[in-house]
């Protein structure tokens, strides 16, 4: 799969995909790359932390259309940075929040639906 960094999809299509992924999944992670091939350290850290507590983490590779995914995600979380985690439709945070919740032993509860 050759990767074209400036490929992009129509905004409406990406917005719908984001809204749907957040609504339909208990836990969804918007990341750069995939769990098998994360393309950024923060995304890798996030999927690693989530994977310790849940096997059913849905992931979306925002590199398919990065700017459009940033725009669509900002409507849900007020921020454009990646990765972003949503549980039960609610924004949980980026990799730093996941790590801090984990350090305090609160991550499992936060991911419980």
């Amino acid at each position: 799969m050759t990767f074209d960094p400036n490929q992009s999809l129509p905004q409406e299509e990406v917005t719908e995909r984001v809204d749907q992924a957040i609504e339909e999944n208990d836990v969804v992670l918007f990341m750069k790359g995939t769990p098998m091939m994360p393309q950024c350290g923060y995304s890798e850290r996030a999927i690693g932390l989530l994977g310790q507590h849940r096997e059913d983490v849905a992931t979306v590779d925002v590199l398919e259309s990065l700017e459009e995914f940033r725009t669509a995600l900002e409507r849900h979380s007020d921020r454009e940075t990646i990765p972003q985690t949503f549980v039960d439709g609610e924004f949980v945070g980026g990799s730093d929040i996941l790590a801090q919740l984990d350090e305090r032993g609160e991550l499992a509860d936060r991911l419980a639906v």
């Binding site: 945070g93 980026g94 929040i97």
Partner: protein, 80 residues
């Protein structure tokens, strides 16, 4: 982005905040940053809301000048 400028923007936006910003990765990388922010304004706020205050302070710089920002927030009591 200049670290002291990032600290200034955070301290200006978050009431009575003390911000310490450093490079999250290696020396030359000014785009992946980490910030530790202490402020009484975080009292009773969830992690997400605390972090949001810091992100809002840097709004127009996020993903452009600052590619990633690792945030840690404490109230003075939590900081000990």
């Amino acid at each position: 982005m200049d670290l002291t400028e990032v600290e200034r923007l955070i301290e200006e936006a978050v009431a009575n905040a003390e911000a310490e910003v450093r490079r999250a990765r290696h020396e030359g990388d000014d785009e992946h940053l980490a910030a530790t922010v202490v402020s009484p304004a975080f009292e009773g706020e969830s992690l997400v809301d605390r972090h949001q205050q810091v992100y809002d302070a840097l709004d127009e710089h996020m993903t452009t000048d600052i590619h990633a920002l690792e945030v840690e927030t404490f109230t003075p009591e939590e900081r000990g």
